[in-house]
Symmetry: C2
Subunit: 302 residues, 2 copies
């Protein structure tokens, strides 16, 4: 139900086979982007996904490797004939930064709306998807994002019958409608069993490990997390630059007990991130050293 | 002597195998860039050339496909530990546009100097290379650039002897020094034969055909020119969007009698620019449908 593609996995500067950081998620005809480094629009073309349905772009922070691809992307979305407003979400100064970059993309056929985050945690909706933004710990204000899609319980025919709910209301109630009649109000919980496990995706870069990450990653089917450094001797560098090692990411994944973890946002000095994975899997076995265009579909479990 | 590489050959938007417009030229340990679309820094890495010696960046104009790669490139040049000033050249508003883009690259270890062009034609020096900027005809102010490297005449031993020039001055005079002595002033022309053919490179995009181009392309060993459209039925579109067809570019190359022409700045709608080349060669045989990383070395002849 959530179509997920890591468009770029590079931190700091792009490499020939590693575009800068960006994630694209598709749900129900709408697309969301988180971060938009240089190379994002080419990666979307490579993946064969469309520009026009991009309804929302979230930014973790405004370092160039997370936003440098924005002006070109906006022009390309415009060329795809989008006219509906596009929402941008990110830390304070978002509107100022975006408008400054738009010196080379001043005319667009769609409006840009801005939602600037200021609290430690903030929630908003992307259609049926609940988005939780939460503060990270980088050298500038930075947010992680969790996307949650709830799933209602199964239709419980015995429950519906036992409450004498007229059969004509069963289907709309199952689909979530509330029905008011002369005999009273019928709500979906009257015909549904207990809620079932939904889908959750958490994305988190650039940051030191903080408890906020575990809290929000908890229960995620997919946890996408920076693994800036794989080399054991880069721990001090990670602390200094307010980044994370692969090892630290794996410790978080383990505590949060996520379904799978994809590492991303690699240092350009790290030529083959996968070479460290065997050691990292000893901490958290379901770790993947993601590459550009690593993708998956997150479905409701049956 | 001039090391030339077309980093990107795309107009408007980048494609998976076609970065946006940029040319890099190396001479005598120094590098010049003309235009810097998205993907420029990755193309430089692909070509294996260095960031630190980029001393000068010229812009034809400020449409995003010619400048969107700048903020990332500046950060990468900074990461290459450049501390010497970098000169930027371009139409009026250059400093404003660059500073606006630098909202995501505010801190650099080198100074940026600006030279804003306002006349129809302006000349300046890049070391021994003379650069001529000349006005084109696009829907915003746009300049083409010619790079010329002069070549002095051969040392003429008979000429030196006949004027009784002391032998100790022959070598410095040949190298271009002027020597003042009690017996008079000696100048290089006193020991050199007639000037020999130098090297000339002309770069020209985005524009309608104008006489200024022929004038400056004249005598170029290499003429790099936009060939936005190859399809015969795109003539009207070229006029409307103030671009050139391959055919129009070839007519200019023919009149200017250049050594070779590379076409570039292709419309993203044109999947295989080379498919039109046979027809274009009927107008100007020494035409190349350049691709990303097409390169050459322009040497003095013989």
């Amino acid at each position: 139900m959530l179509d997920v593609c890591l468009l770029g996995t590079g931190g700091m500067m792009p490499l020939p086979h590693r575009a800068l950081t960006s994630l694209m998620v598709r749900y129900n005809g709408s697309s969301m982007l988180i971060d938009c480094g240089e190379g994002t629009q080419v990666a979307i073309k490579r993946q064969g996904w469309s520009f026009k349905p991009i309804d929302i772009i979230c930014f973790t922070h405004f370092h160039a490797d997370h936003i440098s691809g924005l002006p070109g992307l906006l022009l390309t979305i415009g060329n795809a004939e989008r006219t509906e407003p596009l929402l941008m979400v990110g830390p304070k100064r978002l509107e100022k930064v975006v408008n400054s970059l738009r010196v080379i993309a001043p005319e667009l056929p769609f409006e840009i709306k801005f939602k600037e985050l200021s609290d430690e945690e903030e929630s908003f909706s992307w259609g049926d998807v609940k988005v939780d933004a939460f503060r990270l710990n980088h050298n500038v204000t930075c947010y992680g994002y969790s996307l949650s899609l709830d799933r209602a319980g199964k239709f419980d025919i015995e429950k519906a019958r036992s409450q004498n709910i007229p059969m004509e209301y069963w289907n709309p109630l199952q689909k979530g409608s509330i029905i008011e009649t002369e005999n009273g109000i019928y709500t979906p919980d009257m015909v549904l069993g207990p809620s079932r496990k939904g889908i959750k995706l958490t994305y988190c870069t650039d940051t030191r490990p903080v408890s906020n990450i575990e809290k929000h990653a908890k229960g995620s089917d997919l946890f996408i997390c920076e693994g800036m450094y794989g080399e054991p001797d880069k721990q001090q560098k990670a602390v200094e630059h307010k980044h994370m090692t692969m090892r630290e990411a794996a410790e978080i994944a383990k505590t949060a007990d996520v379904g799978e973890m994809w590492l991303t946002h690699y240092s350009p000095s790290m030529v083959r991130p996968s070479q460290y994975i065997d050691d990292i899997k000893k901490i958290f076995p379901r770790t993947v050293a993601a590459k550009d265009l690593t993708d998956t579909v997150l479905n409701f479990q049956d």
